[in-house]
Amino acid sequence: MKTFLCLVRRELVLTLRQGGGAGMALGFFLTVLVLLPLGIGPDLKLLQRLAPGALWITLLLSVLLSTDRIFGPDYEDGSLELMTMGPMPLELVVVGKAFAHWLGTGLPLAVLAPGLGVLLNLDSALFLPLLAAMVLGSLSLSLLASLGAAVTVGIRKGGMIVSLLILPLYVPILIFGVAATSAVIGVPELMGPSMLILAAISLVSLVVAPVAAAAALRSHMT
């Protein structure tokens, strides 16, 4: 447990202090949110209708954009190999890194999303559901992102492949995430089940992603 916390702390410090970490994802999030109304047009009603979906898609892209930082630098400088030989199983290392990625990217963006949603005229009744759904959903986003990062570590131009591999797996999270948040507008009874399914997806990713990611890392390093 101590090693695990130590790893999470190290990752967090790295994301905060290195360039291109958490701040970059936030900046990207903000930029896309500014571009959207410019592209769609300033119709407030339309924006309100689109806001939850737009926020979710922006969240997916921001998470996706920061995947190469999960294993990339550690693979290049050799610290990943040290972690493989360390006392912790590689699966747990993956969990730690994914958790730190979530703390550094998914969680802050989820917390900020309702506030930034004001830019898109997001209905204030949706603030809490959106926050809850994004917190639940972004956990699986980070876990799956770590899987994508593990699969493509050390590949040149891995970024494009990560999006091709991981975005299809993000589809259910997007669907249920939006269902949970737009429920207030149309069908409120969708909200509860959608939240539960988001939580279930996160739990399933917690089981599947670390095992698969660790297997991928091992075959990359032999």
Partner: protein
């Protein structure tokens, strides 16, 4: 089983079986298409467009079956590290992607007259579209990693993770309300289709399966020979 997995023996057997598979494929397609497009009765609601089913439904079945073959081969490759399993998984992917594409396109052509729209974002259509993307991602992995053994391992992991989508496709019409009709052939209490339509459909399904088998065997043989040439060239450069 292991002794058939020897690439040389596999090549010999596949070479002997191939003409028969190809012939049977042509024959089954001829019979199935004749029965389906000419003999089968019109649907009282859908008219002639119902005949799209004979192309669409088997393609969708094969899209899922091919992914299952790919995932099984990947599992074998991971567990027993057998190169022939890598070859099987790798060569199944483009064929499966084509079946998926065919299912999507014919489904869209069928949807226009029946549902009044080319495309709806419901569970069945979306999950099949995701299947198509998964095939593309899998193919991209093979192309991105140059070293074949490493590519094989990574691609196998990707294929196995993507397998979660297959049950989702199968049950999407039961779990969510969908424009797409629920299962009507494989279900408790027997098929809900009259035999005049069911028999050509099943013949077409076997024809598609034989088509997959033929293409897969050809592709596997080609891949094995490609690897041999690659190895020989490398040996020549080294020696």
């Amino acid at each position: 089983m292991q002794k058939y997995a020897n690439p040389t023996r596999f090549n010999a057997i596949a070479g002997a079986v191939l003409p028969w598979c190809a012939g049977l494929t042509v024959l089954l397609f001829a019979v199935g298409l004749y029965l389906g497009l000419v003999e089968a009765p019109q649907d009282y609601q859908q008219g002639e467009t119902v005949r799209i089913m004979f192309v669409h439904v088997p393609a969708a079945w094969m899209a899922m079956a091919t992914y299952t073959v790919m995932a099984l081969a990947s599992a074998v490759a991971i567990i027993w590290r057998h190169p022939l399993a890598d070859v099987a998984a790798k060569t199944a992917a483009p064929i499966g992607a084509c079946f998926t594409f065919l299912a999507l396109v014919t489904g869209s052509l069928w949807g226009k007259p029946m549902w009044g729209t080319w495309w709806v974002w419901d569970a069945r259509l979306t999950s099949v579209f995701v299947l198509f993307l998964l095939y593309l991602g899998y193919i991209a992995i093979w192309q991105a990693i140059e070293e074949p053994t490493r590519a094989a391992r990574i691609a196998a992991i990707v294929a196995l993770v993507g397998f979660v989508n297959i049950p989702i496709i199968k049950f999407s019409v039961d779990w969510w309300n969908s424009l797409h009709q629920p299962a009507s052939v494989l279900k408790v209490g027997g098929p809900a289709i009259h035999s005049s339509i069911l028999i050509p459909l099943l013949i077409m399904a076997v024809a598609y399966t034989m088509l997959f088998l033929t293409l897969h065997l050809v592709a596997m043989r080609t891949e094995i020979m490609k690897r041999r040439i690659h190895n020989m060239e490398r040996a020549e450069v080294a020696g």
